[in-house]
């Protein structure tokens, strides 16, 4: 097992290298000149050229690539062309809201989705099943920003139960932290609920048709115990897989949710950087995202061994 983990961790290096090369080439070959954006609208061509030279953007592409690779290999993600701050500092400043949003969203989504999925499977073919699946389809179909605006209008503007926007650090107290994360987590989590609930239902239906479930019923095992202890555990592998795959969905959803709820996270950082062609930020964050995604997949693979003892690496 340990050898497998080490092998998988080593495999992240070529993955991140490929992502890095791809992102670098994509950025530098697509239109957009950060020097022109920095200089502003009233700048002369000479101003723009001077800034371009200062940032080293007038050097040949291979030279820029080599210097970026050398810098990255040493663990230096570079400095923002606009704010002059190190990319690692900017990412660290933005990491907490994004991690908090991702974790609370996962918590909300998994709790609701698994419950609904189990319920729908247990009551398959009934009105309960149809309502749950209808809700799931709706959750997956309505864009995150629409859900976000609706939640803000009802719960923040009309009822004034929660704030419209902003983030408060967990170090300022768990109450205010949660208070500001409820709406974003629910808005972002709805799509997840739909995805996970459908998979849970399908997987549970398959397991509920197994002989050992019939045996458990025959032995008089209670419904709750039968569903959660016997069926859900055996149906968990596909659910965990979908949760893992959904992390990519979560990363893209975080970008939109952070804008709608004005959360100062990494998603907004990278979107702003793309609009401005702030190459070091985009490259640095993309590599980090790739690393996170690889690690999430590794975690999911390891989780299989706990859920299904037959799986061994």
């Amino acid at each position: 097992m340990m050898a497998y983990i080490v092998r998988r961790l080593l495999a992240t290096i070529p993955v991140m290298a490929i992502v890095g090369i791809f992102v670098f080439m994509l950025l530098h070959l697509s239109p957009g000149d950060p020097a022109a954006i920095i200089a502003g609208d009233n700048a002369t061509e000479a101003n723009v050229a001077a800034i371009r030279a200062r940032l080293g953007l007038d050097r040949p592409l291979y030279e820029q690539f080599v210097s970026w690779v050398w810098q990255t290999v040493r663990g230096d993600l570079g400095v923002s062309m606009f704010s002059n701050l190190p990319v690692t500092t900017l990412v660290m400043q933005r990491a907490e809201p994004t991690i908090a949003l991702a974790l609370t969203t996962l918590f909300v989504a998994i709790t609701i989705a698994v419950t609904l999925g189990v319920l729908a499977a247990w009551r398959a073919g009934t009105l309960v099943d149809r309502v749950v699946m209808g809700f799931a389809v709706m959750g997956f179909s309505v864009p995150v920003f629409v859900v976000g605006y609706m939640l803000v209008y009802v719960f923040a503007i009309q009822l004034r139960w929660v704030p419209v926007q902003g983030y408060q650090s967990i170090f300022d107290g768990i109450g205010p932290w949660l208070h500001r994360l409820i709406l974003p987590s629910v808005a972002l989590g709805l799509a997840y609920v739909a995805l996970i609930a459908r998979i849970t239902r399908a997987s549970m239906l398959e397991v509920l048709a197994e002989d050992y479930i019939r045996t458990a019923n025959a032995k008089g095992v209670g419904t709750g115990r039968m569903l959660l202890r016997h069926a859900l555990k055996n149906a968990a592998v596909p659910i965990v897989t979908v949760i893992g795959i959904g992390v990519a969905l979560l990363i893209s959803g975080v970008v939109i949710t952070e804008s709608v709820f004005n959360l100062p996270g990494v998603g907004r950082l990278v979107v702003d950087a793309i609009a401005r062609r702030d190459y070091p930020i985009i490259q640095g964050v993309m590599i980090l995202f790739a690393g996170v995604y690889v690690l999430v997949n590794l975690t999911v693979d390891i989780a299989y061994t706990f859920l299904d003892p037959r799986i061994r690496y």
Binding site: A39, D41, N42, T44, V152, I157, P264, A275, R276
Partner: protein, 545 residues
């Protein structure tokens, strides 16, 4: 339970812990009582050097923490700001400036004339108006700690206007050792002499910018007016909350989470107007002026007849209705120098008053006379900024209506600002285009646009001009005459000739003027001043609720 000291202590600790956990402890209560204001500006502050970039938001930052030698008042006249005494020699060539008493940096060191000299030198290296003035400068030197002089080869009527101007970059005064930074390198220290201090430790690019009252700042005795006069600060802190989403910003204002939203989109304004405690007000009386830049280097717009055809075809009303919508906030304007400004003359723009069918018929004739052969016209189309997006589409349709073959080259604004600097001709292959361009749309602040000199885009110096590279000797001769004119009446007379000439050779195509209102909580703030251009001035504003 028996009341003992130990039990009381335990109870107190438990209560304090719980209060901290849920966030309703003393810290939270203190935050509610702060004498501060939260502001949603039009853009994120990424660059902290207002000389290095011409981005307006960096100029706003500059207005918070720096001061200028002169400032424009509400009537657009330059007034002394850091300068206490000013003298112009009889031959009108030597300008002597004496700094007023009490000027200090926020690190508590005195402001000196050496700081001013170094700042002016850095500013002129980056600014079009500064460079225009510097063609006549023979000396700029400190006389003593508080006095410095500017010597010119010939009289120049725009010295004070240039030092007070609100078009970017403004002539902000920085500490000598900071101002000596290479003009092409961003400064890294932010010590100011303005009404606020920049709180660097709380700066989060893309999220939040924090300013505190500068205790070392001594305001002038006059009342505040425009960006001039006594900048009295009544707030302890001003926090800029960067919100990329307009709907979120509007909701935050309605819910009272922020006090000021600088530029709400016009379609959101009715909802804000209906919200209790929110006031909608146009703070910049001259608003914004839109214009299409034509590429004078390549066909078809290297031909004045084709440029005139395009000028007749582009309908300001169409653009303004599509992009702004509410006629309360826009006007058709026939001036290259901003209607409503002292130079807002409309000579030469009579054709704008003709009905569109007549204009279009004449435009088609001009296309024939100019030998237009259906060659593609590439319009740069920024899709990520609503006004830009609508402008490009309306302009394209206006040109198609007279028979031009228009192709929209769509990208984000970042793509447009890069491509507009390409001087090669555009290359069209099917629906895709590469290389240069024929038309792009942009806009400028009304006050900046009002000056033939301050706005670099007014120059017609060919390859050295702003994007589009118009070349017209008479335009340059008249701009120089305007700069040398001794009084307002003479300047206005020159501006009339300039405007007529710009319409004749079609310098660029104006697309109208609009006035984006600001929205703020009038139940919490009072003393918001109208300003020529540089954002809401946070001095003079008091928190009342």
């Amino acid at each position: 339970m028996k009341t003992t000291r130990r039990n009381l202590l335990k109870g107190g600790l438990a209560a304090a812990t719980t209060a901290t956990m849920v966030g309703y402890g003393p810290k939270s209560a203190r935050a509610q009582r702060r004498n501060e204001a939260r502001y949603v500006p039009h853009a994120d502050l990424r660059v902290l050097d207002p000389i290095w970039t011409t981005a307006n938001i960096s100029a706003y930052h500059g207005a918070m923490i720096y001061d200028t030698l002169f400032g424009i008042d509400a009537n657009l006249n330059p007034q002394p700001q850091m300068v206490g005494q000013y003298n112009l020699s009889d031959d009108r060539k030597t300008h002597t400036f004496v700094l007023r008493d009490g000027l200090r940096w926020d690190d508590n060191t005195p402001v000196t004339s050496a700081d001013c000299v170094a700042s002016m030198l850095r500013w002129k290296a980056r600014d079009g108006a500064g460079q225009h003035m510097w063609q006549r400068v023979t000396d700029l030197s400190a006389v003593d700690e508080k006095t410095f002089k500017l010597v010119l080869r010939e009289p120049y009527g725009l010295v004070l206007e240039a030092l007070a101007k609100t078009s970017t970059p403004l002539c902000y005064i920085m500490k000598k050792e900071i101002a000596e930074t290479d003009p092409n390198t961003q400064i890294t220290r932010h010590i100011g002499c303005g009404p606020f201090k920049f709180v660097e430790s709380e700066y989060r690019p893309g999220t939040r910018v924090v300013y505190e009252k500068n205790p070392n700042y001594v305001p002038r005795s006059e009342p505040a007016s425009g960006i001039a006069g006594g900048k009295r600060v009544h707030l302890d802190r001003v926090i800029w909350d960067i919100m990329p989403d307009a709907q979120t910003a509007a909701s935050a204002l309605m819910a009272g989470e922020v006090e000021f939203y600088e530029v709400p989109p016009i379609d959101i304004v009715p909802a804000l107007q209906a919200a209790p405690g929110v006031k909608i007000e146009v703070l910049s009386a001259l608003g914004n002026v839109g214009y299409c830049r034509l590429n004078h280097l390549h066909p078809p717009f290297n031909n004045v007849l084709i440029r005139r055809a395009a000028q007749l075809a582009v309908n300001q009303e169409d653009f303004l209705r599509a992009a702004i919508g509410n006629p309360q906030y826009y006007r058709v304007c026939g001036s290259h120098f901003t209607c409503g400004s002292p130079m807002g003359v409309e000579d030469g723009s009579e054709m704008l008053n003709q009905p569109m069918p007549a204009r279009q018929a004449r435009a088609r004739e001009l296309l024939r006379e100019g030998g237009y052969n259906n060659m593609p016209v590439v319009v740069l189309h920024a899709t990520d900024i609503p006004v830009m997006n609508q402008a490009a589409q309306v302009i394209a349709q206006n040109l198609r209506q007279i028979g031009m073959n228009v192709i929209l080259a769509s990208s984000d604004w970042g793509g447009v600002v890069t491509r507009r600097s390409v001087k090669d001709p555009p290359v069209v292959s099917g629906n895709s285009t590469t290389g240069g361009w024929n038309i792009f749309f942009t806009w400028g602040g009304g006050n900046s646009t009002a000056s033939p000199i301050n706005l670099f885009a007014h120059a017609a110096t060919g390859q050295n001009a702003w994007f589009g590279w118009p070349e017209n000797a008479l335009n340059e001769q008249l701009r120089n005459e305007w700069a040398a004119a001794p009084d307002l009446a003479t300047r206005r007379a020159v501006a009339q000739r300039l405007n007529r000439n710009m319409f004749e050779y079609v310098h660029d195509i104006k697309t109208g003027q609009w006035f984006g209102p600001a929205a703020y909580r009038s139940d919490r703030l009072r003393g918001v001043l109208p300003v020529p251009e540089i954002g809401p001035p946070w001095w003079n504003i008091e928190r009342i609720g």
